[in-house]
Symmetry: C2
Subunit: 236 residues, 2 copies
């Protein structure tokens, strides 16, 4: 951070970054708990995630107001301006991750009423990878480290591959036993939500990279969900 003549300004920027870090920690906990609620079939935990989303939303609004005050009162330039805007954008991404965690938790509550299915394992692995990405990108933000941010950005493909494989697995599962279609549909959306959480980490990585360097990682995000173009396999 540049040396400011106005000490209060530095403090405001630090307070903003600290709010973002706090919100990041909360979003991470929400996502971890939502995934855990499936793996452990823990409905109480899932319900806590659903209830906890409001706190994530409140933090976002607080960060936006904080950032607007900095913009209005301090009129930051260059890297300080990018930091202020990065706070707004990252808070927006974290809010989405919070929404995804809430949606996963809602579906966990339904799944926990049903017989367990073996796919929960693949999902847990995908969840861990997505959480690792979130943790890494939040660290990159705190450390102002563009290289770590770029690494997160590049690694999104791994989650996408896991998703593609789980998607295939689920389709096979449904075709083999149509009674599981309702259940598998929930799993499908949970998996998609975990994959989307990974995309939001990629977005955050782009913001961090731009915040520190002023440059752009790329116009085109690395998107590896190939299921949209998947040929339809029929079992006749």
């Amino acid at each position: 951070m540049a040396d400011h003549t106005v000490r209060a300004f530095t403090e405001q920027l630090e307070a903003l970054a600290s709010s973002v870090a706090q919100m990041g920690g909360l979003a991470e906990a929400q996502l971890a708990d939502a995934i855990d609620a499936i793996a452990r079939r823990d409905t109480a935990r899932a319900e806590a995630v659903v209830a906890g989303d409001r706190k994530v939303d409140e933090l976002q609004q607080q960060i936006e107001e904080q950032a607007l005050r900095v913009l209005a009162l301090r009129q930051p330039m260059a890297v300080d301006l990018r930091e202020t805007l990065a706070a707004i954008k990252i808070a927006g991404e974290l809010e989405r991750i919070g929404d995804l965690a809430k949606n996963i938790a809602k579906r966990a509550i339904v799944l926990n009423r049903e017989q367990p299915i073996r796919l929960a394992q693949s999902l847990a692995r995908m969840g861990s990878q997505s959480l690792a990405q979130l943790k890494a990108v939040l660290d990159a933000y705190s450390d102002r480290d563009p290289d770590s941010a770029e690494l997160v950005w590049k690694q999104d493909g791994e989650i996408d591959e896991m998703y593609n494989s789980l998607f295939r697995e689920l389709l096979t599962y449904m075709m083999e036993d149509p009674r599981t279609i309702g259940l598998c549909t929930h799993f499908l959306f949970i998996a998609k939500n975990v994959e989307r959480a990974g995309d939001h980490c990629t977005n955050i990585a782009e913001v961090v990279y731009h915040m520190v360097t002023g440059g752009h990682l790329a116009l085109e995000r690395p998107k590896g969900d190939t299921t949209a173009s998947a040929r339809i396999e029929k079992k006749d």
Copy 2:
């Protein structure tokens, strides 16, 4: 817009708003074409949507840079500051809508290789509603009309209801004929993407409302996708 002593500033803000309107028009066209590509089984159009997404992404980046220049050079206050930030946020939402259109188009290409199914009708209705919402919220932005924005925000429930009903329909379809599972899964994600496009319109409505009034529509977005909590129906 307030009377500015610096005419150039007013012009910059107007140019920014005009870029957002242009991007809005493009995102609307992309979504309309993607939905149309399914209804008319028009693969060439779907391919054009996939290729056209890059233009949407480029416009977003251009708007961000334009807004950053306004912030850095003009240091806007109050409503002007909110307008500048609104441009960044709306461009972000429009970029997501562009991504969704691209994803729908990719799935359309796959669907067009298969036998048509009757669900395309319900989907087309849902698509029209979503497009109407997008058009209305872009108008609310151009007119700086918080009441119209609030109306869009309130009407999101209609798309959600359509989605919930289509979701049920698709599940029944799959259970009745497991050979359609692959096909129906594509439809499921297309429907979800249309529903998400509606959510982004809701987000834009919140931004427009805040831009004009300085107030917030609500902390909690009106979310009507209840399928996350849907009980699983089994056919034994």
